[in-house]
């Protein structure tokens, strides 16, 4: 209870009672405590087993089994990055360039299919493993010895919105809890002065399905991702235009009102929880500006991330988001979602390369590559990668042929690549395979359910046990599916 000194009388009374009650563990006590996050009757009763201790919802919670990773950064590339221009080398496409695909589909997602097209970048072998990676992403390419690739993922939708839902929530429909919400629901947070789950939108805009990617669905709102970025801090941190002394006076008057009300209504945990939430908010008012203030970062570090790039504002802004992600992880924030790529824009603002893929990817890769690679290196140098899992993902892949009359590739949910690195991940692995043209996964095929199940597993969570009752159904991140991908585990 090292926060006690920051708290008011009412807040301290609550914490004292928590300490007392967690020892004596009376029924009333655990209710008061559970109320702190509005979790009463949820956690224990939900799953038929005490997955999460309801009497202590603020503290970090124990996973189902010893975890390899404690925290997660998800680098989410919106718009569907082509596997063929990045990680899934298909030399056969070079000789088939501009030839029709015999027996191929006439019409794909956006319309008539054109001829096969070679990878739009040169590939070369990298590192000790000799992994073939394209020149589009030279910095990330240097890290392949530490990465576990899954080349054989499939999605349930070929449409961005539902597919981003599927990647983030395990369901194509709107309204299901996101991966980050599940994780913070299960594990709580190591840091009580910051939100436990932060979503950092791309400087160019939010991804296709917006808030559904970090929404709590039907989980309590406490587990919703809070958006902030180097450009836009958390909303409502301060009351603009209110003099400081008036602000303090309002706060202290509120404390008195609530203390009197609590005294008149003893035994209601919800009231005490609300009082404590104001104490926490006050601490967040201090800690959030501190964490988003990058001025304390040394010049060489800004340079390493590309945050000092004066020629490319989008890259510099994304780099700052990457630094912010590291700072959050450093402070014990459980789950950080770092978006690269915004909404539908004809491929202009995200990875949706339908018409002019090469031209657009030249721009997008500049923004992604150096900052994301620097983030991983920086995490490793600071020892943070020992308990942080880094996930790189995208909602689906792209076709081996161009669209008719265009120089870009259509949506392809039948075989694409995502990868993991960091805590608990087996380094230098390339698992699963697409066919020789990179169109369909043919070996060790993994629907995204498996990928998400594996992420939970690395966090010490059993994807079949982590569940929540909603309208009569025990809901899980992986629906009724799921399977681990043991080949990527260390």
């Amino acid at each position: 209870m090292n926060h006690a000194e920051h708290l008011s009388l009412a807040g301290r009374a609550l914490l004292d009672r928590r300490q007392f009650l967690s020892n004596s563990a009376t029924a009333l006590g655990s209710i008061a405590l559970a109320n702190l996050l509005g979790l009463d009757g949820l956690l224990a009763a939900e799953s038929g087993g005490p997955i999460i201790d309801p009497s202590n919802p603020y503290a970090p919670r124990q996973p189902h089994f010893p975890a390899k990773a404690k925290n997660v950064i998800v680098i989410f590339c919106a718009g569907a990055v082509s596997q063929l221009e990045t990680w899934d080398y298909k030399p056969e496409l070079i000789q088939w360039d501009d030839k029709p695909l015999p027996g191929g589909p006439n019409v794909t997602f956006q319309g008539p299919a054109g001829n096969l097209a070679r990878p739009q970048y040169e590939f070369r072998q990298r590192g000790k493993t000799g992994k073939w990676v394209s020149d589009m992403i030279p910095h990330l390419a240097e890290l392949t010895d530490d990465i576990a690739f899954v080349h054989s993922l499939t999605s349930k939708s070929n449409t961005h919105g539902p597919a981003e839902n599927f990647l983030s929530t395990g369901f194509v429909l709107d309204g299901f809890p996101s991966l980050g919400s599940w994780v913070t629901y299960a594990l709580g947070s190591e840091n009580r002065d910051l939100p436990s789950y932060v979503a950092i939108p791309d400087p160019r805009g939010v991804p296709q399905n917006g808030a559904n990617n970090w929404g709590p669905g039907f989980l309590p709102a406490a587990f919703q991702g809070t958006t902030m970025s180097s450009k836009n801090p958390v909303r409502h941190l301060t009351a603009s235009g209110v003099p400081e002394d008036a602000d303090r006076a309002a706060r202290s008057l509120l404390q008195k009102m609530n203390a009197r009300h609590l005294a008149a209504n003893p035994g209601d945990g919800k009231l005490a929880a609300r009082i404590a939430s104001y104490e926490l908010a006050a601490r967040m008012q201090l800690s959030v500006p501190e964490i988003s203030d990058l001025s304390t970062e040394p010049a060489h570090l800004l340079k390493m991330y590309g945050a000092d790039d004066t020629q490319n504002a989008d890259k510099a802004a994304f780099a700052k988001n990457c630094i912010l992600a590291r700072r959050l992880i450093e402070k014990g924030v459980r789950f950080v979602q770092l978006f690269n790529g915004a909404y539908a824009s004809g491929g202009k603002l995200n990875w949706d390369g339908h018409n002019a893929l090469k031209e657009q990817y030249d721009i997008h890769a500049q923004i992604l590559d150096q900052p994301a690679a620097a983030l991983i290196r920086d995490l490793r140098q600071r020892g943070l990668l020992d308990d942080t899992l880094v996930v790189w993902c995208t909602e689906f892949g792209r076709m081996p042929f161009f669209q008719k009359g265009a120089k870009g590739r259509d949506h392809n949910p039948d075989g694409f690549t995502c990868w993991l690195t960091g805590a608990g991940v087996k380094p230098g692995v390339s698992h699963g395979r697409t066919d020789d043209l990179g169109q369909k996964a043919i070996e060790d095929v993994h629907p995204l359910y498996h990928f998400n199940a594996t992420i939970l597993h690395l966090l010490g969570l059993d994807f079949e046990r982590l569940s929540f009752e909603h309208n009569g159904i025990q809901r899980r991140l992986t629906n009724v599916e799921g399977k681990l991908i043991p080949q990527v585990l260390a």
Partner: protein, 916 residues
Amino acid sequence: MKRATTTVSALLLVSPAFVSAAPVDFVREVRPIFERHCTECHGEKKQKSGLRLDVKAAALKGGDEHAPDIVPGKASESPLVKMVLSHDKDERMPPKGDGLTVAEITKLTDWINEGAAWPDGVDAVKVKDKRDHWSFKPLAVTSGNHSIDEFIASKLKANRLVMSPETDRVSWLRRVTFDLTGLPPTPERVAQFVKDGDPQAYEKVADDLLTSPRYGERWAQHWLDVVRYADTHGFEVNTERPNAWPYRDYVIDAFNADTPYDRFIREQIVGDALGKDPATGFLITASVLLPAQIGKDEPSKRLARQDSLDEIVNNVGQTFLGLSVGCARCHDHKFDPVTQRDYYAMQAFVAGVEYEDRELRTPAAETARREAAKLKPRLAEIDTQLARFVPLAKSGVERAMINARENVDRFAPVAAKRLRFTIHATNSLEPCIDELEVFNAAGENVALASTGAAATSSGDIIVADRHDLKHINDGLYGNSRSWMSNENGRGWVAIEFAKEQSIGRVVWGRDREGKFRDRLATDYLIEVAVASGEWRAVADASDRRKFDPKDKKPVAFSTKGLSEAEAKEAAALMREKSVLDAKLKAASDARKVFGGTFREPDEIHLLNRGDPEQPKDEVVPAVIASLGGVKLDRRTPEQQRRSALADWIASPQNPLTARVMVNRIWQGHFGTGLVATPSDFGNNGMKPTHPELLDWLAQEFIRSGWSVKHMHRLIVLSQTYRQSSASNRVAAEKDSDVRLLWRFPSRRLEAETIRDAMLAVSGQLNLQMYGRGFDLFNQRGGLSGFTPVEKFTPENQRRMIYAHKVRREPETVFGAFDCPDAGQSTALRRASTTPIQALNLFNSRFTLEQSEAFAVRVKKDAGADAAAQIRRAYQLALNRDPNDDELRDAEPVVQAHGLATLCRAIFNSNEFLFLP
């Protein structure tokens, strides 16, 4: 143990008669094999792929994927045997370990070949009959007169508890006013009630509240939560659903009118047959993919259709029946008696529903339609006349800036057989033009393909149903009917007319529907030529105002360069046009509802594992077989199908309908229902805490003619509801969740109620009802980030139910208070407590401005004396006077920092935010 599959495979071919003398004994020889290898995953705890091998009926029926897994007499055809023999590591069963031994496989195949005899009554586990469940049984009839209090008291007594004393009058008034109307009582109402000596005083309050229009606004919100109402389409584009709100208004009216609940059900399912067009908005409240978002390949289309039908079935099942019917889309329901066939049979009732706007057929809508029809010709006339005043190109007058929506290039009439539009630059990417119109002296568009004109271009990007050269002159507007060049920043398109024309005006745009502003030609040249002649320039961008990408305003009509007389005439036309435009818009708004269109129903098939690419046999409309017998012929017309479904649900004999609704009403008053899982009355749901009370309420509901208001009256006037909310340690230790109702369970107000109450207290609440929702954000839907509206006006200080609800985009301040995002149904709002809520409520512009307004109002009411001001503020917000201590706390704050500081604290106080 080595597996010897080849030997065993050979065995399968041997005729059963010769295999062994003694028949295989299931209990002694086969069941142990299942128990050793199979039942861990296919048994009581787990039934992977829907298969279980510990119970006779289930085992012989088989799993989801290849039922039947055991084919008696034919081991070689039994999937079970194939799986244990398989060499494919992904297929072989069991997946871990060495698998079955040769001896075991032999035993198993012999047993199947001998007919798979599985004696009755030997299974260790008894499978629960899914139909044997309280909520599927008829309502239990309780004889004699009863009351809510009697049921509650007797249960308390059985648990050695008693009801708490009655709460004070003011607390009850505040509680019931919030509960029924979502607003606090006024100080005047409080004073009047406290003094009212009439023994019927409580009844009068209840009646007043139930006849207030505020009641419908409050209770419609509960209903909209369940049906996940929103004003956008959801998914990736999340565009505005501009005609959804008539359904929201319908629900408000239905509650206010106390529409009998059975009729309320019928109207929402088949209101088109009952003169209630807006009510069918219910069917299609879900997110849906718009046609342009669905893949052009057939499997994508089939999957999208299945997803949209699934949402309708889910909505019907959860909302009215409290059953998660949707679980049976891929396999029989695990817990409830809903088979996969039942699920598709339910789909067949609604298989003709499309997610579309429908023309309303109400009298008001008919009038609006006639009005609009009259306006249109006059508007076209004005447009033609105004065109005369557009400055000529190359006349030296600066012309309007290029606009993504529509641009006019006027020039002196010239003879032409061909016209070419060349783009030299765009604001981004390849240029795109939705329609190129060329007008002759008679005002006819001679570029239209239908007049015989032909288009050519420098090259095109073709996207099916969106971009194609033919769309340049097909007479249709918008991005989805447009031409796109295949070169970045340039390209040309040319039109050859059917015959030589005298032309004087070209009209073109990027997207006349106003959704797209990219790919706009910012530098262009228009040339004409006679049949054999050279190209001759008639207009270009050089005399237009310099293009400014930040200027997104539609071009205002400019009278620059016109003579005084011309300017006067043009201005008059413009005035008339803007009046007519507004009228037309209002008329159009009033005549459509997003209530679905109805067509010939799709043929519905049972889909293997829910996969539209694996259709099995056709299914006809039928209700859940374990709950009813309604089954329709496959030729039953669309509307009759929905009628039959509605009739079955809205019947007093349906065991679920009344129970589910009275439970929702109970939950609205006590925070938790008698059944704590309001949309799951199935085997997996919670059992009712007071089953007799629930059934009595359900019967009372039906007896009253399904009157929802009757139920409210029973509840709020009961002693149970009138108890104090004070806790006591002894009772709390026995029943911490207050499920037995030994006190009134206090709870935090909901998001909408907090906002509405703040406005009511500050005096800013605008009680205007109905209509198009007000804006919470700078846009009503769309792809990118939403900026909250933080300028407060009477329009957006209406009750929050009238806000334009953007799916999945939480309102900036109140969204954090567990406001549903309308993704999935919210039958029960969780009340969480988070620091983000505290930041929002303490620091937001909304709170600060309402605190100021509250202070202004108080000063007006109470005058300059600080103590009087504090007293008035307490009365308005908390319905009581401050005590001396509270006055002592507040006075110095008010004096030093102003009254608004106190008001801000009050809005954040627990007393304000919790029901008493």
